[in-house]
């Protein structure tokens, strides 16, 4: 039982990061109908920026802020210089361009920083509090929950309570109609990419220090889990992404806890295949069919 409780908390903490990363994928999917396979590489680039800034200034938090700001700018740059010109006649085009971007980003990071693993610090201790003899959460886990929770609340408020958020949603649904209503559709798309890349960078900042270590391909594994989380949630639904992230986190934690860590990656792929076969629209897809 103790083990189960521990694994549950551990799973939720990992899941929160996948949730944030899946949320970044959903943001871009909603705005541009592209699955951004370069999200992981972009996030790693932001973590390298944080690493450099922290190295130079000695402040974790300056590095943290630098990573988020860099993420925003990278999102703008990627949308304005590359993704804007992708031909949408086939959904594969966006995927191929994103994969190309992965190779470029990882190559450039390798040239600049070398291909070895670098340890990266966490701002809070990672040893867990014990409650009644069971190790539950570390300070770092609490920080992860707080950061992801803040992002979810902020995005929810942005999309449901502000004119900008409403316009972003409208632009994603019907670009031409939105233009007629005065929505600068191109600008909304750029903003969507910027926000998504910033959220992705945050997820990278949260997850890289835990078990991965900093490396140009550090986020590849996370990408698979987060992509599964987004698909479980239906790709179109922010709530689905968060739920999917927690589900994947728990699954990974239970499987590696009870069956061994080597089985965990297969469990994620199994879930991905099962969802795509059984409910390709995701677990939250009940109203989707009618919209099409």
């Amino acid at each position: 039982m103790d083990r189960f409780v521990y694994l549950t908390f551990d799973g939720l903490s990992r899941g929160a990061v996948y949730a944030a990363f899946a949320l970044a994928l959903v943001l871009i999917w909603r705005a541009a109908r592209i699955v951004n396979f370069a999200q992981g590489a972009m996030a790693v680039a932001a973590v390298y920026v944080a690493y450099s800034v922290t190295d130079a200034t000695g402040s974790y938090w300056l590095g943290f802020v630098a990573a988020i700001v860099f993420g925003l700018l990278l999102g703008v740059a990627v949308e304005k210089t590359v993704m804007r010109f992708v031909d949408h006649s086939s959904p594969l085009n966006g995927v191929v361009v994103a994969l190309g971007l992965v190779l470029i980003v990882q190559g450039v990071l390798g040239i600049l920083f070398g291909n070895e693993y670098r340890p990266i610090e966490t701002p809070f201790r990672r040893d867990a509090f014990e409650v009644g003899g069971i190790a539950l959460l570390s300070r770092y886990d609490v920080f992860v929950f707080a950061a992801v929770g803040a992002v979810v609340v902020a995005l929810t408020l942005l999309f449901t309570r502000t004119a900008v958020g409403l316009r972003m949603r409208a632009a994603a649904f019907a670009p031409d109609v939105s233009r007629l209503l005065g929505v600068p559709v191109g600008g909304m798309l750029t903003l969507g990419w910027a926000l998504a890349a910033a959220v992705g960078s945050l997820a990278g900042m949260l997850v890289v220090p835990t078990e991965l270590g900093l490396h140009p391909t550090a986020m590849d594994v996370v990408f698979v889990s987060a992509f599964t989380a987004a698909v479980v949630g239906g790709l179109d639904s922010p709530i689905g992404a968060v739920t999917g992230g927690l589900v994947v986190g728990l699954l990974l934690s239970y499987v590696s806890g009870y069956l061994g860590a080597t089985v965990a990656p297969m469990a994620v792929l199994f879930l991905l295949v099962a969802v795509l076969l059984g409910r390709p629209g995701g677990l939250f897809s009940h109203s989707k069919a009618r919209l099409a």
């Binding site: 309570r161 949603r169 409208a170 649904f173 019907a174 031409d176 007629l180 005065g182 009618r290």
Partner: protein
């Protein structure tokens, strides 16, 4: 003194649009004076919607000039809202995943009268609700448009155009699919809108009852321009609609 030109809020001069070999608009000129209701009619394929698309900047003309308030103007879709021009779409073009209120709010710019401190979001919500109320569909504010009957969605479409408080309202077949009672309601709304109206419509009774002036297009060519009385007495118009007399 010539007030002739400045009195025209919107004017099209010698407008020609070609799609490949097809001439969709052929030397069409139209003047829309401020506050007037101007109708554009013609058989299917006459170029009515193309005319709207030119004014909205969706289609670039091969020749001709558009002036807004007497100044040469090159329309761009996303600037229309700011310039006070609102257009409804043929059929319904609502965002399926947004509620009716949100749909209408996208176009509401949140005009603040002096001294009002309400946020832009609040004000645009107020404008949107007012517009929905004016169109008699305020009860559906929090529903998704996809689940509503067609006629209700047409009203939502109108509300969305009105919510930006436009000075020029462009209506593309607003009566399509409506029953006679709804069309009477629509006629009252158009007459009472207090804006300049440009109306593309097939429903003759509506056009004849609300328009101050009517332009008739046939295969992209302007064949008549005049008051409803003049148009209904025009032989060329009858011919275009009913075919040449045998």
């Amino acid at each position: 003194m010539s007030t002739e030109n400045t009195a025209h809020e919107l004017a099209l001069d010698h407008m020609t649009v070609r799609f490949g070999g097809l001439t969709a608009l052929d030397d069409v000129s139209l003047r829309v004076p401020s506050g007037r209701i101007v109708g554009v009619i013609g058989p299917n394929g006459a170029g009515k919607t193309t005319l709207f698309n030119v004014i909205c900047g969706f289609v670039t003309p091969a020749a001709g000039e558009i002036t807004l308030d007497g100044r040469a103007w090159r329309p761009r879709p996303h600037q229309l809202n700011r310039l006070g021009i609102a257009r409804t779409l043929q059929g319904v073009g609502q965002f399926g995943g947004l509620t009716v209120l949100e749909n209408v709010q996208v176009g509401a710019r949140g005009h603040r009268s002096k001294g009002e401190k309400a946020s832009r979001e609040r004000q645009s919500e107020k404008d949107a609700l007012e517009a929905l109320d004016k169109c008699g569909v305020a009860d559906y504010a929090h529903r998704l448009p996809g689940a509503l009957p067609y006629a209700t969605r047409k009203r939502v479409e109108l509300a969305r155009a009105l919510a930006s408080r436009p000075r020029i309202l462009m209506l593309d077949e607003p009566a399509g699919g409506l029953d006679p009672e709804e069309i009477r309601w629509l006629a009252e709304l158009i007459k009472g809108a207090g804006t300049t109206v440009l109306l593309v419509e097939h429903h003759m009774d509506l056009v004849m009852s609300v328009c101050d002036e009517i332009l008739v297009l046939d295969f992209g060519k302007p064949i008549a321009l005049g008051t409803p009385a003049e148009i209904s007495a025009d032989d060329k118009v009858t011919e275009a609609y009913l075919g040449a007399a045998a």
